[in-house]
């Protein structure tokens, strides 16, 4: 009697002690094999579908298609594995249907996120890699899954926002357009030579290679207040180079204006102190606020 026969005899004794027959074990092994096979198939076909779909569709759509394919194959494998164990698939599917309805009611948030994901795909307000602002969150879109959108913030954190929240938020896509307008507002003193300042700024903008000639830049004085006059600058730049141009131009314009002797107005506060001799004054001290920092006005 060989060693293998001894092992087999030992195993059958062990199984009979556990109350399992050899045929039951065989069925379980077959079911596990089926499931493992379908799992491997799901991984392979999911990847294949994603790669093929990415040629025709967007990256997000390809990802979703790949994941749906994998999920369907895994479900089919699971159903077949159960069938090989003697379970009735049709009743399983029926039970699955009822379960799905029950789960649907129980997991409204999940379903809502899923549907929002689908609507976001149809609406396509952004694609992976776009810099966006979703509600109060700003960053680069890293991934769009069926339930959530992942943003990498500019300081390197990863945010997960549920698709439902994304769908209901105001979305600003900073790369959806080919060109963006740069806007500056410079505060100049009342006695400054506005024409000279405009001419200097126009010259800088015309010489800058990343400021569009059409639509051309506009420089004008459109506001006057207690502090001075406000010179507004509008210039268009390709979206791809918007940020470096925006940051660079401000310093260049400021430096060139100062170099040409054009002072930039400084917000002032004049405090008038009246002594006791000023009878009839509203109070011993009166503070007159002449200026305030106005948002967006550079000085």
């Amino acid at each position: 009697m060989g060693l293998s026969s001894e092992i087999m005899a030992y195993l059958s004794r062990f199984l009979s002690e556990l109350g399992l027959s050899a045929s039951t074990i065989r069925s379980v092994l077959v079911a596990v094999s089926i499931f493992v096979f379908f799992l491997a198939l799901a991984l392979f076909l999911g990847r294949y579908v994603r790669i093929r779909a990415s040629v025709k569709f967007s990256r997000e759509a390809a990802l979703i298609l790949g994941r749906v394919t994998s999920a369907l194959i895994v479900f089919a494998g699971f159903a077949l594995a159960l069938h090989s164990l003697g379970f009735n698939i049709s009743s399983l599917l029926l039970a699955g249907g009822f379960l799905a309805v029950a789960l649907g009611f129980a997991a409204q948030t999940v379903v809502s996120n899923l549907l929002s994901g689908v609507f976001l795909y149809i609406d396509r307000p952004f694609t992976i890699g776009d810099p966006v602002m979703i509600g109060n969150n700003t960053g680069i879109v890293e991934d769009v899954t069926i339930f959530s959108t992942r943003l990498r913030t500019f300081d390197g954190r990863l945010l997960r926002i549920s698709n439902n929240e994304v769908f209901n938020s105001t979305i600003v896509n900073m790369m959806a357009t080919k060109a963006r307008r740069i806007e500056y507002r410079f505060l100049l003193p009342h006695n400054s030579d506005a024409k000279k300042a405009i001419s200097i700024v126009k010259d800088i903008l015309e010489k800058h290679p990343l400021i569009l000639a059409d639509p051309g830049p506009q420089v004008f004085i459109n506001e006057s207040n207690l502090d001075g006059i406000i010179m507004t600058i509008w210039a268009w730049s390709p979206s791809k180079s918007f940020f470096p141009v925006w940051t660079e131009l401000f310093s260049t314009i400021r430096e060139e204006l100062i170099k040409a002797g054009i002072q930039l107005a400084v917000p002032q506060r004049i405090i008038t102190i009246r002594g006791p001799e000023s009878a009839g004054a509203p109070g011993p001290e009166e503070e007159t606020l002449k200026t305030r920092e106005k948002q967006g006005v550079h000085s």
Partner: protein, 250 residues
């Protein structure tokens, strides 16, 4: 200094010093420096079996690379064309410079590219910010004398719009442009650009033409994305065309 093969030594090209120095083992060292500084802007070692050539390329090098999609040629004098009429106009198109390492079988590798320092390249938006194109802007005059940094082209306008039309601009996608140069000269040419006026607002641009004479050679292409050729999007609408559609007026 002209287009064509670069020999050893130092040459002045459009405000830069271009140096080619022979090294041991058949190597060549290529360097590019500003005129008045010793700051190296580009430096590449080239092995045996390649020749270095100065060639004109699409005007999208340096910080314009990946930004510029088309050339926007504004005609200094607009042209009025009658119904069903054809007009040929000489225009100029800006080109940048490239140093290409050319193999014996016509294969090449662009090792450096730069634009003309004598004038600031300007950009323009053709169309809307959402669906338009970022273009290299160029004012073209039929009386403009030819100079390095420009390529000549023949703009052939066919008026199929069914009415008298005024043409003041032509937009040429870089992905369609083929540039030819005459070695030993500064002459560059883009061939014939056909502009078919289809309606009051739309025109089709078809680029493709033979070089003016047989002694012109084809420049290597640095813009290889061909997506602009066949499909264009305007909002949710997608257009398929043989050439490039100018959808926002001509």
């Amino acid at each position: 200094m002209t287009y064509g093969m670069l020999s050893e030594g130092e040459l002045i090209v459009s405000g830069y010093r271009v140096r080619v120095k022979g090294l041991e083992g058949g190597f060549k060292l290529y360097t590019r420096l500003p005129l008045n500084e010793d700051k190296i802007l580009a430096s590449v070692m080239v092995g045996e079996g390649t020749d270095l050539s100065l060639v004109p390329v699409e005007p999208s090098t340096g910080n314009l690379q990946g930004v510029v999609e088309c050339v926007y040629v504004k005609l200094e004098t607009p042209i009025v064309i009658g119904k069903e009429a054809k007009v040929d106009v000489r225009i100029t198109v800006p080109v940048d410079y490239a140093i290409a390492a050319m193999g014996p079988e016509g294969d090449f590798n662009v090792i450096d590219a730069f634009s003309d320092t004598e004038s600031t390249p300007k950009l323009a938006l053709y169309g809307t910010p959402t669906s338009g194109y970022i273009c290299r802007f160029h004012n073209s005059s039929s009386k403009e004398p030819f100079k390095p940094g420009l390529a000549e082209a023949l703009l052939r306008i066919n008026n199929y719009s069914g009415r008298i039309a005024t043409v003041s601009r032509a937009v040429i996608p870089l992905s369609l442009m083929e540039i030819y140069y005459k070695p030993g000269t500064w002459q560059a040419n883009v061939g014939i650009i056909t502009m078919n006026l289809e309606s009051e607002k739309a025109a089709e641009i078809i680029v493709g033409g033979m070089p003016p004479t047989a002694d012109f050679e084809k420049s290597p292409e640095i813009v290889t994305e061909k997506h602009l050729i066949s499909v264009q999007k305007l909002g949710y609408l997608t257009f398929k065309a043989a050439g490039f559609k100018m959808l926002w007026g001509y």
